[in-house]
Structures are given as C-alpha cells and as structure tokens.
Symmetry: C2
Subunit: 173 residues, 2 copies
Amino acid sequence: MSKGLLIVFTGNGKGKTTAALGMAMRTAGHGLKVCFIQFIKGGWHYGEIDAVKRFEGLIDFHVMGKGFTWKSDNIEEDARLAREAWDFARRMIASGVYHTVVLDEFTYLLHYQMLACEPCLEFLNGRPAGQHVVVTGRYAPEQLLATADLVTEMQVIKHPLESGIKAQKGIEF
Amino acid sequence: MSKGLLIVFTGNGKGKTTAALGMAMRTAGHGLKVCFIQFIKGGWHYGEIDAVKRFEGLIDFHVMGKGFTWKSDNIEEDARLAREAWDFARRMIASGVYHTVVLDEFTYLLHYQMLACEPCLEFLNGRPAGQHVVVTGRYAPEQLLATADLVTEMQVIKHPLESGIKAQKGIEF
C-alpha cells in the first residue's frame, strides 16, 4: 500500500519547520518537486532562502501575507488574508505538479480560527491520491491529528533562551 | 551572551535526522561550513546525498563504519569501529573549521555502551567555545541531556507504518 501522506510536525519544540525544510531538500534531492508555503513568519531569513535557491526548479517557495504576522488588530483583514493564502495552497495541492506541498506554520490559522477547520480537513482528505502534504506549527487541532498519517510532536525539553543565550545565525535562523 | 550550543534531537519520532539536515542546509545557506557525520545508518540514500552535494564546499559529510549497523556479533570489532568514528568526530570538532558539527545517530554509541559516556561528555563540554554541535538519535542518555543547551524530543504520535503504508521515496528516505 502506497499513498500520499498527510504529515504533521507539531509541539512547542524547535525543529518543526527545520524538519520540513530537511524533507523538502531530501525530496528535491530525488529530483521531485516541492512547494513550500510559509504562512506566518513574515519572510524567511537569508539562510533558508539561499539554501532553497540551490534547488531552483525543484523547490518553489512562497511567503504568504507579505510579512503579515496574523496579529493585527483588524480581524476581518486577517481572515481575508488567511482565506487568500489557503486558496493559493489549495491550488498548489490540487495542481498535481508537486510531490510534496509543505504548509509551514499553517496550524495557527486553524488554532486562531481564521479558517474553519472542517472544510480545510475535508479538502485535505479529498486531495489527489498520491499527494503528500506536510503541515507544521504549534497547537495542531485534534481533528487534524486524527486525520493525519504521520504525526511527530516536537517537545521542548530544554531551550537556550531560558539560559539567556541569544538566537544565533545558523542555529535559530 | 553568545556561545557554541550543544543541541540534541532525540525521541522515537520521525524528524531527528531530518531536522539536523535542515539545520545543516540553513547554516550552509549563510555561507557557514558544516561537518555532517553519520554514525549508523549504513550510508545515505540518494536523496540526501544529492541534496548535500548542492552545498559542496560548505557541507562535508562522512559516513562512518562503511555501512556498519553496529549490530554485528563481534562486539570488540564494534567497539573498535566506534572508537575510530569518535576519534574522527573529535578531530572535526577540535579543528575549528566548522560552524556546526552534526553527530547523526551518535546517541546509539552511548546507549549501547560502545563508548564510555563520561569521557565523551567531557570532550564535548571542553570543545572550542564557539563550536556548535548537534547530536541526534533515540535513547539520548540523561547525562547528555543534562549538559546540552537545547533539547527537543521528537515524539511519535502516529506513524504510517502502523497503518501498513510502506516507506516511500522523498518521505521516509
């Protein structure tokens, strides 16, 4: 039995986006195409961008919301941007162009109810049969975990910020 | 405060090596050098190898033991190979050449007592001040977690092999 998987990396620990990035590059290493959609962080840092550029033609990456942090005071505007971003993601998933589509930090849109969970899950469940989808982010809703094929929870056991060590280039970003 | 971090990705879930791979490529994306040493898996698959080749001159990768799985019947031979691999890793860490040295699946050598834990930790604690080291693998010993700066436990919540889905190219390897 072989099928497109719905993979979720969640939890409060470091390594969710990083693991998705590693998967994307490994997949591209097989010559398979990846669409990496970042929903939240307001743009990648130089390290990630330079890294994916080395896979031009294999990894397409898109930052949604143009630096939007989903924390504005304008809830209607937030919801509109969330819908637009999700519409784009759906087109990519339905396109059949990609081996894997990564929805990075997508869980926040569900958690903060900027998108209704049920229709999103319906769409994901009805995606093309071979289509792999990777979802990352904290607070993955139970319904998403229930429908996923593979779930890893990244749990923080220890974090350097607790010891007063600043975020560092090449480590945190 | 800024210092070289000892980072551990452990736990039984998917994403430990993958996160280390993502970190390595992001670091290389900054133009910083990475040494990626794989202690166990018996050689990478094509996807990983092709991916790191795109970072030639920035990511050096080494497979220890030439496909050795650390499961032979010859315990003395295993211990000898483990010591050789660790000697090599120590040279890389001490060399000052790399921003980050990744010891992939290194925890097994400690867990299965092919190396004594205390001198290993002493060496890691005494490494050059700015040297980042990433250790991955299940069964990370408590002493390693105690001395690490950042620990994430990747917990398996759900795994497709449980549902009878085979490992697939671009996903599992």
